[in-house]
Symmetry: C2
Subunit: 436 residues, 2 copies
């Protein structure tokens, strides 16, 4: 039987128990990985597409657990500002004006950027996720889309946004050959009422999808929740039944050890977003302790307006380094652990650990090749270290999602790079000029 894709001659990191295959081979058929192993021990395979990958390293695609892709068109709009000023004076007034087309242009730009950085799956929370789904479908990426809900003191608005979210979930959960999955995205404990949060919990359960929510991002939001409800954010969510293994909590910067233990007990997943946490001066989450307590932790870039990049290889390095400085201990989050969190850890955080996150037979074929023939990736004493500490998104050479080649030799095959950039630039310019 002829395979679809055969990759050979490369080092393979399966991300299973730290395995490193020196001269590896990967076979892909019907969107699935059918073989991973040493080249020389394998009988010859015939394939439609043979990728000779000498000098490259194959690994599972990177999983970006928390972002807001349409915000790429606001990249650089407002820099070095206090979070509240950033939101109220810069971001929210712009967001209020965003049309579906603007959202699409921004989402497509972010999809393009992520493909070029070796991200094969991302988890998004924003308005108009139906439009984001169109961009995902076109780009060929895999995504978990959570339509965002901000009630902001207006129950009617909250109910309306929940209705819209339900429509998106019903239409897009399992869409595009299963590449698109959905969650429901209540923005945070302080922007949705207890009533609405309970409703969301019920609706999500009945629809069989998870929940994506911001949690304890900054000191201010933690204080706000305490002031509003007289208890900590984790206790508050717990009282509403909002802790569970299908809940993805973004940030978790200001959590006590006790709260982390509660999250672990309920199986809540965390997206750790180190670059955004630094840029907005939110703080440094206790990720070392989360892992010790058995919490599943993935990594995210957060939105391109608070990073300002979707380069998950940058995030992997920042994630490890920031924990080292948090605990004043250079042994924290070593290289293998860091790369696990950015692949299988992220996949598990999104509830798709059975489908992606490692290179193993019967998993979906989400594979990237990193070109090691670069000065900054020379010499190779430790493949993991070179990827985590020395590589950057631009070293990703080939990207395969669901068995389809999205990028080859850094040329994206599913999108017209020039056109996507031009449209996004035009949209961004219009958005800003309107502001005057």
């Amino acid at each position: 039987m002829k395979a679809d894709i055969l990759i050979r001659g490369c080092t393979v990191l399966t991300m299973v128990h730290g395995e490193v295959i020196s001269k590896g081979m990967i076979v892909v058929k019907d969107g699935l990985i059918t073989y991973v192993g040493e080249e020389q021990r394998t009988p010859p395979v015939d394939a439609d597409e043979v990728i000779e990958a000498q000098g490259k390293v194959a690994m599972p695609g990177l999983v970006n657990c928390h972002t807001h892709v349409p915000m790429s068109i606001m990249r650089g709009v407002a820099e070095d500002q206090e979070l509240e000023i950033w939101l109220t004076r810069s971001i929210w007034p712009l967001e209020a004006k965003l049309t579906a087309k603007d959202i699409y242009d921004g989402a497509l730009l972010s999809c393009l950027e992520m493909i070029k950085n070796g991200v094969t799956c991302f988890s998004d929370m924003y308005f108009h996720e139906d439009v984001v789904a169109m961009a995902v479908e076109k780009s060929g990426l895999r995504a978990v889309l959570a339509p965002g809900i901000i009630e902001g003191g207006d129950p009617e608005r909250g109910e309306h946004m929940l209705e819209e979210a339900v429509k998106v979930v019903k239409k897009y959960h399992g869409y595009a050959n299963g590449r698109i999955r959905t969650q429901i995205g209540p923005h945070a404990a302080y922007t949705c009422s207890p009533n609405l949060l309970r409703r969301i919990r019920d609706v999500a359960l009945s629809l069989g999808v998870g929940i994506h929510i911001h949690l304890a991002e900054s000191r201010e939001t933690v204080r706000l929740v305490r002031r509003m409800y007289g208890k900590g954010e984790v206790s508050f969510l717990k009282s509403l039944g909002l802790l569970g293994p299908d809940v993805l909590a973004a940030h978790g910067v200001h959590l006590t050890r006790r709260e982390i233990l509660t999250l672990a007990r309920y199986g809540v997943k965390i997206s750790y977003n180190p670059v955004s946490n630094m840029k907005l001066a939110s703080g440094i989450p206790r990720v070392k302790e989360m892992l010790e307590f058995g919490v599943t932790v993935g990594m995210g870039t957060d939105g391109p307006a608070s990073n300002n990049s979707l380069d998950m290889l940058e995030t992997v390095k920042a994630a490890s380094l920031l924990q080292k400085i948090r605990y004043m201990d250079p042994t924290v989050i070593p290289v293998k652990k860091a790369l696990e969190m950015a692949t299988i850890g992220g996949a598990r955080a999104l509830g798709v650990g059975h489908m992606i996150g490692t290179l193993e037979p019967a998993k979906r074929a989400d594979i990237i090749l990193i070109d090691f023939r670069k000065p900054h990736l020379t010499p190779v004493h430790n493949v993991y270290a070179n990827i985590v500490y020395s590589a950057r998104g631009s070293d990703v050479d080939t990207v395969i999602v669901d068995g389809r080649i999205l990028m080859r030799d850094r040329v994206v095959e599913t999108l017209d790079e020039g056109e996507v950039r031009r449209k996004a630039q035009k949209t961004a310019k219009r958005l800003l000029s309107d502001r005057l």
Copy 2:
């Protein structure tokens, strides 16, 4: 009169008072910048080499204020270890075996990597700086080389290393058309005796060169100095006459406000090395306060074995982000300030602010072009923000040092990339296999 190089059609950041020239032009003649300004206001210029730079941003080359370039061959050898174990079990045993040829291979690899990252000038401290000088000359880069001196309780060794350092200074200060300058590099207060440090101060003054020294890098070294001499590191160096405007102190992580004030008063320069400080869990220096007190601060990558990259655009981002988290304030080290520190700040820290660091007539022509036609550099709301928060070394497209084109369209013209990589890989492999 015909110019050597004419660059036109690009955005120009001169790094003088935050100036941004939209359709700029730069003229280079005999290694010097002779004109910078708007294209349309300028009479036509004839040049041997015309660079059409539409879609690109021209700025001064990045200045890497603290590194140990030969250590690139140890990149990835020992990861996620305690500093003392890292040094005593991994790095020092390897260093003891390094030959001049190994040093050369490593230095050349680092020069190659820096050119590809838009670094045009670096400041190095290591053994065999005479060999590093050969690599610098060949690569076309600019450098300030400080032969390292570690006495380690052996006065004879210290005296010998000082003699060798003097030889390097005499031969290479002003070498290669002035591209190479030198300093003397006593490793640190705790590895050189007071006697030797005093001798070094005198010798440096008599030779007219500066001093490059590690300062307060970790809690342990600070404690060590206090134990050895009963005073803080800054007081100790002050008592030896070792504070002055010609002294470049690397790190300065664990300094009190009072110590920072003393450094400011004496005009001591600081190299801030955020990525290494995080990776080795050294701590976070008080750079915001240093700047408030008027200390000149440049940025460095530190050696490629403790980073593990020589990408100064990564360092610029990390430098700003790490200060934000240090002070829990997102307004600290805003984008213009960050980029200033990586260019003119660094040049001043190395005592060459009169020669390089800005794009102005009569300065040496150290210029880089960054290609903005990339998804992650779209849209352009804020050129500084895109460079500091979104760009990475691989976006640098063209590098000019002293009026000579070292890289064009990412192809390095002074070095054979494949050969440099292969030799370094071979040397690295041999070095490690010997260890067994």
